[in-house]
């Protein structure tokens, strides 16, 4: 492989540190960049001199020191706020369930950062995502493939990337399990070898998503209704619900059949949340919008493939029809708890074909 100028996005975690180390060891000219994404007002001092993620920035800097590469911090807080945080809030306000990690990959790491890197003379952006990328940076037709570590695979949150974005990406960890990455970090003397994995939404520090949304969107009371329209309870905001949710519905009277109720649909304008029995969650057909086909040409005929409907969710055999900006997905077997706003990522085996955003769902036709 030729020597490339590589910009390594370094979060301060173990994965991106090992990814950068591998890129440097492969002979590339690597520069580490930590993205300052948060503008947590509590840490602002006298205007704009403070910022947060201090500990992560320090961890990233120390990893760069150990690897022996230059290191900088890029301030992307404004872009992140607009493209990820605001998008997250807006999606909930529309009754959708967003995936902010996916949006961050799409808009921040592989748009804002990649564009700036390319303009500054870099050939590729390297991250610590657990996914494999066939072919070399700069080549066309590179395929995104699941990580060998199924439990850590992140191909789903990268499924939104276009082939142009993938052509300038570098994911050095796709052939390695997380356990091996940690061992390698320790062997390389990287202090972050034992740093815990991040799980929660990174911009909601206390992990309380409902509280965060309530502060952003305020109180918007509405009703909980059964499929037949019978009112069975009330709520403070329809954004507090996700399709398939069972707990915390505060239903005031038991259903006639005595069986548990699940959120079936969220109507943000009338603030009506419809609940019903588990089988009413079964989805047979999905309309999705804004398809991106990175692993194949935009299909002109129906294709049979696998589709994943949420992060770390299972894969369903399906047939997909593409018509312009719309994709109709017919699942061979019904799926439960499919939420608008999530991505449908299409796979051929372990290879990503493309993705689209779930807009509407329909029950399985009776023939099932």
């Amino acid at each position: 492989m030729s020597r490339l100028r590589v910009l390594a996005a370094m979060s301060g975690g173990v994965d991106s540190a090992v990814a950068a180390a591998r890129a440097a060891e492969a002979g590339h000219d690597v520069t580490g960049v930590h993205l300052a994404l948060s503008r947590n007002p509590s840490s602002y001092r006298t205007g704009a001199r403070g910022c947060c993620t201090l500990e992560d920035a320090r961890d990233a800097r120390r990893a760069a020191d150990v690897i022996g590469i230059p290191f900088y911090v890029w301030d992307l807080a404004d872009r992140f706020h607009t493209d990820v945080v605001q998008d997250f809030v807006d999606a909930y306000a529309r009754g959708n369930t967003p995936n902010p990690c996916l949006r961050c990959n799409e808009k921040i790491k592989f748009t804002a950062v990649l564009d700036r890197a390319v303009a500054l003379g870099f050939d590729a952006v390297c991250t610590g995502h657990h996914a494999q990328l066939q072919g070399s940076p700069g080549e066309a037709g590179r395929r995104l493939v699941r990580s060998v570590d199924a439990a850590k695979d992140q191909s789903y949150v990268l499924g939104v990337l276009t082939s142009e974005q993938l052509s300038r990406a570098m994911f050095p960890l796709g052939d390695t399990t997380k356990a091996e990455v940690r061992r390698e970090a320790a062997r390389r003397g990287l202090g972050v070898a034992d740093k815990p994995d991040s799980h929660d939404v990174c911009f909601i520090a206390d992990g309380d998503t409902q509280g965060f949304l309530r502060r952003q969107l305020g109180s918007a009371p509405g009703q909980l209704v059964e499929l037949d329209g019978a009112v069975v309870g009330s709520h403070d905001g329809s954004y507090g619900f996700t399709i398939g949710q069972r707990k915390g519905l505060r239903i005031e009277r038991p259903a006639a059949d005595g069986r548990p109720r699940y959120v079936l649909s969220i109507e943000p304008v009338s603030r009506t949340v419809t609940v019903g029995p588990a089988e009413a969650l079964d989805v047979g057909e999905i309309d999705a919008t804004g398809p991106v086909w990175s692993g194949c040409p935009s299909p002109s005929a129906p294709i049979d493939c696998l589709v994943q409907l949420r992060a770390h969710g299972e894969c369903y055999p399906a047939t997909c029809w593409t018509a312009g900006e719309e994709v109709t997905i017919r699942l061979r077997n019904p799926a439960r708890g499919v939420a608008a706003g999530q991505a449908a990522v299409f796979y051929d085996g372990d290879a990503v074909l493309g993705s689209a955003t779930i807009a509407r769902t329909r029950p399985a036709p009776d023939r099932c």
Partner: protein, 405 residues
């Protein structure tokens, strides 16, 4: 040349032809200072001890004090050693404010320019937030210069309410030199304590406590070829700031703490060398600086030189530009990758470059403030450093401009 080697060594990540153009951040230690410091590190003695070893250490301190006093127009007793410029600024601003308000509780107003170094700026803000001070920020013109009339107006609004005044001798970012002697004598007419942060000026201009009549001046070793961690407040006789550090009562009871004898000896060694060659060196650096400005403007015709035009109102070793359409951090990174070290101004703790409060106070908009770079020269600077910058700045600015789109 060993000084040159020291400069090369300090460029992180640089390979080969490194040009260190960030002497205003810190400048290589002079060989005489390194020799003095290493010799003293091997010696024993607390300068406050009464035995032979203590007397030996004390003698080193006092000889250093005399040399520094002589150079900067002060009596030996007017040199208060500190850990550096930040501590000296804190002592001057807080200490003089507290002393004056203790004597006259009605004096709560602190006058300072909006372009002070953060050591002064944030000390004044702290007094306003915690000690009931009234921060009165003095405006500067588009070149970053404070007029005597502006200070006079500010005092005249209510002379009896002013506790102290702090105006930097020369600005650390854009290099603008203030009319310190006139400002200090105006303050003296009203009997208002006047402090000036002379950290940037001390190696390049004839800085003198006596000649200006200021109450206090801040200087620091590492900007003039001495070590980091040593500085002084030149404090005129009779001025009694309330201490910030309490303890053993060293340094006129104003600054407690065991004296750092090796650093003080090296500080004096650097002052001696720097003062001896200052007039010639200032001319040499001004000529280099003028060439740097010419080369940058030739390569990037729309670049804007910030601060006063070259001449008596600008530090000889400073050049500061805004590059329209560019982000300062992109310029810095591209230059760093080409072995050229410069500065964008201040960064937060995490490392994010911040828009300069100095440029904003000079009337620049945020984009111009963000798209700026400081190049500063020093004793190890040579024509080759300037040429190295001139050779790449055009391409670098063009690339940074594309990245900002």
């Amino acid at each position: 040349m060993s000084e040159r080697a020291a400069a090369d060594h300090s460029v992180a990540g640089g390979d080969g032809a490194a040009a260190y153009l960030d002497h205003a951040a810190t400048t290589p230690m002079l060989p005489a200072a390194v020799a003095a410091m290493t010799a003293e590190l091997a010696e024993l003695g607390n300068a406050s001890s009464l035995h032979n070893a203590g007397r030996r250490a004390r003698r080193v301190v006092e000889e250093s004090r005399e040399l520094i006093a002589e150079t900067y127009g002060a009596k030996p007793s007017e040199v208060v050693f500190t850990s550096g410029g930040t501590e000296a600024d804190n002592l001057a601003v807080k200490g003089l404010f507290w002393a004056r308000t203790a004597a006259e509780p009605g004096r709560r107003r602190v006058l300072a320019t909006a372009i002070e170094h953060h050591a002064v700026l944030d000390s004044v803000r702290w007094l306003a937030d915690h000690e009931d001070a009234d921060a009165d920020w003095l405006p500067v013109d588009g070149n970053g210069r404070l007029s005597v009339a502006t200070l006079a107006d500010a005092i005249e609004r209510d002379p009896a309410s002013v506790a102290m005044i702090s105006v930097m001798w020369a600005n650390n970012e854009v290099g603008t030199v203030q009319p310190i002697a006139e400002l200090a004598s105006l303050a003296a007419e009203y009997e208002i304590p006047f402090h000036s942060d002379a950290v940037q000026a001390a190696g390049q201009l004839p800085v003198s406590l006596a000649a200006t009549g200021a109450t206090a001046l801040t200087i620091t070793a590492h900007k003039i070829g001495g070590p980091v961690g040593a500085g002084a407040l030149l404090l005129s006789k009779g001025a009694e700031p309330v201490p910030v550090l309490h303890g053993g009562g060293q340094e006129r009871d104003v600054r407690s703490g065991t004296l750092d004898v090796p650093a003080i000896r090296a500080f004096a060694a650097a002052v001696e060398v720097t003062a001896g060659r200052r007039p010639d060196e200032a001319k040499r650096l001004a000529a280099l600086r003028d060439d740097l400005i010419a080369q940058v403007l030739a390569a990037v015709p729309d670049a804007i030189l910030n601060g006063s035009p070259p001449g008596p109102d600008r530090l000889p070793a400073n050049a500061h530009f805004s590059f329209p359409g560019c982000e300062g951090d992109a310029l810095l990174m591209l230059l760093d990758a080409r072995g050229i070290a410069c500065s964008t101004g201040s960064a937060c703790t995490a490392g994010v470059a911040q828009p300069s409060h100095v440029l904003l106070a000079m009337g620049a908009d945020e984009a111009r403030a963000r798209g700026s770079l400081r190049f500063s020269l020093g004793h190890s600077s040579e024509q080759a450093d300037v040429d190295a910058l001139g050779a790449v700045i055009g391409e670098v600015a063009e690339r940074a401009r594309r990245a900002a789109r």
